[in-house]
Amino acid sequence: MLPRSFSILPPAVLILGLALTAAELQAQGDGPEIGEQAPKFTLGDTYGKQHALEDYEGQWVVLEWLNYECPYVGKHYNSGNMQRLQESFAEKGVKWLAIVSSAPGKQGYHEPQEMNRLSAEKGSKALAVLLDPDGVVGKMYGAKTTPQMILIDPAGTLLYNGAIDDKPSSRPSSLEGAHNYLVAALEEAMSGKPVSTPTSKPYGCSVKYKN
């Protein structure tokens, strides 16, 4: 039945319309801005444990967009570069969360067990590998490529979003002499200085989002 009163219609149209618009535009978002609150999310890891960003309040957090089959990711894992970073960050108390936004059937997506096997094979030192098969968190952060790195400070502020370093290449030789933006950002931020390069264009394979 039609409602007795039309009064609820204009507010309903406004709310519904805005919600639809918000959802539509959210999907086109370019990610949050530096210096603003990092968007909250909750994702399950490959062991079924739920991780909410709030769980890490008061701690430094790194988000790494991951696709083990991507040659650019391969450069950092096959050379041991990423694992060394993960280890040294862990020593400083930084929580490192790798996020896989590949959709099922696309490159980089694996069932949790297979993902664990790959992580063990690569010797990943990330705290957890989170699964984002619908790409919701990836799009929320505007993740474009693998790898793409995000640094969040203990207050939950986004400090860095972008490439891991300044050598956009998949050749292992490009690691030599590369300036690692993430390391620089963490060092500056931890010593209370402003981050000199808070963003850079991420390089690598495109994130294999759901169509």
Binding site: S7, L9, E24, D30, P32, K144, R171, Y209
Partner: protein
């Protein structure tokens, strides 16, 4: 395996060497084959080519890295877009040689939502100018060597590399190499160039940049829009839509700043691609216009789009501007119908007691302010998600436009008296003398805001430009002030008996006015449908219009069988019909928002001309012609059901059929005479020409079936195969 019998090395040694090579390969395998693949350049091949067969000392020549990619694979432009890496060349040239930068032809857009890349499919030549030293010896051939590194992607990406070598003799004068002339010419046509007659300007805005494209000569009447490829990465967001607006002869392109930019750019460098089928120059050759302009800060006055230039505005001033702008909003054409309707409401309230009238005014104001705050809230929410929005952003969403169109259409029908429902709409019309609830007043405030959003009033732009660059609290304050400003006139009128008394007494004139006011609302609906059509295409608009018709039907049923006058059974049936019609309306509107994607098949239809038919057949291709028109319903059915079906599209590809469309939507003498030549005076007509020029065309039936089309394709294509020689000889 080395072929020992052709080798000077004896077989056993060869075997040993093979072993050594394998061992070395194993040792270096990790570096050499990072992909674990044997092929260093998967799905693509690279080659060094030169425009000349021989080079001359001191005389610059053009060489190119030629990349040929498998079908469906692409490599990248100098700015790869959201992901990817452009090709690079590491030259090792003989002493004294100088090499220029890569000249990149304009790329294609490769869209994989939410990402956008720029790159090349099939084949591309990356041009480089090389200058040999003036003292080059004439007798020794020169070897140009280079390592090429590129990324080749389809849905996955693979890095590729190849060591290349090109040996060229040295002669007194350079000789062109006609093997490559065509490729080089085609590539040069794709290089961005400057064209006289265009003035390009770039301006900073609150969300990025605005390119003004100003024709100095005659105006263009382009149907499509140009696209800007930013050359530098991290300046303009590749995936953000480029909104195009027209101001007189000026084309304005809104570009969103990349979220990875390190600050505002001082120059914009890139390529402006003319819309499909258009060109920047008179000869129609130049499709890619080179852009390299300084970015200027906008001069004031146009603060809505510009945003900055409000930098020294204080919050207090912005709030005052918002209040003034908000109240002026009431005079803008889009709000005017609401204002008039509201005034009618006041006429009714005039009889009520003073306190009640005032309280309704306040409830209305609360409705307006809350809606403005809701808008601000969504803007802030999306801003935290990285989107940067302006006023009226919600109209960028087809779903929102459709919802508002439906609401306003229903309101207009109600004003016309087609049906009566509940309270708020009739209340707005001031028809029923029952007490109005405060919720209704609040709700009419929301409605007023909904209708107001497409408009901007003076002063408002400045205030908004300020608000959108401010932290949360300030943004909310300015939006609240805008709402307050819009509501103030109503509050004042409803709270002041003196003013209410000025209004005419209620009477028959109100019914007339009420019906008259439906027309500006119909006007607004027309405008919204037009916006919707721009967003979703003509099919989407047809869906929305059909939805409106279903809505009109539902309201007619409601008005024809009024609740008070019918028995329980009629009530049940009629209301069920209403629900079904409304459901259909919503469903149709929702489908309309996604109409465009569904409308187009993947077959490429070229515009019809007799010459093209001859050319294609002469080149050995059979030709299928679809004589059609937008207003021809059976044409549309045939196209959607048969021609755009997967089976037929595949069959076209399989038999290498060229597909032409003769669009007779508007009068066209060429198509008319072509139709006459087949004894027809109208569409649809489907004609299939065999490649063999000696054979006559087959006319297909007016109502197509997949089976029928497949049979014809099969027959004609197979007989073409039997007589290819004959085809060549006949002309």
């Amino acid at each position: 395996m080395p072929k020992a019998d052709h080798s000077l090395i004896e077989p056993r040694a060869a075997a040993r060497m093979t072993g050594l090579v394998l061992t070395l390969g194993f040792l270096f395998g990790e570096q050499l084959y990072a992909q674990g693949a044997e092929d260093l350049s998967p799905h693509s091949e690279a080659q060094l080519v030169a425009e000349v067969r021989a080079i001359a000392p001191g005389e610059p020549f053009t060489a190119a890295l030629r990349l040929v990619m498998d079908e469906g694979w692409h490599s990248y432009w100098v700015n790869p877009g959201d992901a990817g890496t452009p090709a690079s060349i590491e030259w090792s040239l003989p002493r004294g040689f100088e090499v220029g930068p890569i000249q990149w032809p304009y790329p294609e857009r490769i869209e994989v939502p939410p990402l956008m890349s720029y790159g090349y499919f099939n084949e591309v030549l990356l041009l480089v100018e090389i200058t040999p030293p003036a003292d080059l010896a004439l007798d020794m051939p020169v070897a140009l060597e280079a390592g090429a590194y590129w990324l080749v992607c389809s849905d996955i990406c693979l890095p590729a590399e190849q060591q290349l070598r090109l040996v060229l003799p040295v002669a007194e004068a350079a000789e062109p190499d006609d093997r490559w002339t065509g490729s080089f010419t085609a590539t040069r046509d794709r290089l961005p160039v400057s064209v006289e007659g265009w003035d390009i300007r770039a301006e900073r805005t609150s969300t990025g940049y605005r390119l003004s494209i100003i024709p100095l000569g005659e105006e263009t009447a382009w149907e499509g829009d140009p696209y800007y490829f930013p050359r530098d990465e991290a300046v303009v967001s590749p995936s953000a839509p480029q909104a195009v607006s027209r101001r007189g002869s000026h084309l304005l392109l809104s570009l969103q700043e990349s979220s990875y930019s390190s600050g505002p750019a001082t120059r914009l460098e890139g390529v402006l691609l003319a819309p499909q089928g258009e060109a920047w120059d008179k000869d129609g050759r130049v499709r890619a216009l080179a852009v390299d302009v300084a970015v200027t800060e906008p001069a004031g006055g146009d603060a809505l789009q510009a945003g900055s230039g409000t930098g020294n505005l204080t919050l207090a001033v912005a709030l005052v501007f918002a209040l003034i702008g908000g109240s002026l909003l009431n005079l803008m054409p889009c709000v005017f119908p609401v204002l008039s309707i509201k005034v009618l409401g006041f006429v009714n309230q005039a009889g009520e007691d003073r306190f009640k009238a005032g309280a309704h005014g306040v409830a209305f104001a609360i409705g307006v302010v809350l809606s403005f705050l809701a808008l601000a809230g969504v803007i802030l929410l999306l801003r935290s998600g990285g989107s940067r929005l302006g006023w009226g952003f919600q109209l960028q969403s087809p779903a929102f436009v459709a919802a508002v169109a439906i609401l306003l259409f229903a309101l207009a029908l109600n004003l016309m008296g087609l049906f009566e429902v509940g309270t708020v709409l009739t209340r707005l019309g001031g028809r029923v003398a029952q007490p109005q609830s405060y919720v209704d007043s609040l709700s009419s405030g929301v409605l007023a805001t909904l209708i107001a959003t497409p408009c901007t009033a003076p002063f408002m732009g400045t205030a908004l430009g300020f608000a959108l660059t401010q932290p949360m609290l300030q943004t909310l304050l300015v939006f609240g002030a805008l709402g307050l400003g819009m509501a103030i006139p109503y509050v004042v009128v409803s709270a002041s008996p003196a003013l209410l008394r000025l209004l005419p007494k209620p009477g028959a004139w109100m019914e007339t006015t009420r019906q008259l006011l439906a027309f500006p609302l119909f006007g607004t609906v027309i405008w919204l449908v037009w916006v919707f059509a721009r967003q979703t295409g003509v099919n989407g608009a047809a869906h929305l219009l059909t939805a409106l018709m279903m809505l009109a039907f539902a309201t007619w049923v409601l008005g024809r069988w009024k609740a008070q006058l019918i028995d329980a059974r009629t009530r049940l049936v009629s209301r069920a019909v209403v629900l079904v019609a409304l459901g259909l309306a919503v469903g149709l509107a929702a489908r309309g928002t996604r109409a465009e994607a569904a409308a187009a098949g993947s077959t490429q239809w070229q515009p019809f001309s007799q010459e093209l038919v001859q050319q294609l057949r002469a080149a050995g291709q059979p030709v299928f012609i679809d004589f059609t028109a937008a207003w021809c319903l059976s044409c549309q059915v045939n196209e959607q059901v048969v021609l755009a079906s997967r089976v037929i599209e595949d069959a076209f590809v399989e038999h290498n059929v060229a597909t032409l469309k003769a669009d007779w939507t508007r009068f066209d003498p060429v198509i008319t005479s072509a139709l006459e030549s087949f004894g027809r005076s109208g569409v649809p007509l489907y004609v299939f020409y065999p490649a063999d020029l000696a054979r006559s065309p087959v006319v297909l039936p007016t109502i197509l079936t997949k089976r029928g089309v497949l049979d014809v394709l099969q027959d004609v294509a197979s007989s073409d195969l039997q007589a290819p020689a004959a085809a060549a000889i006949t002309r």
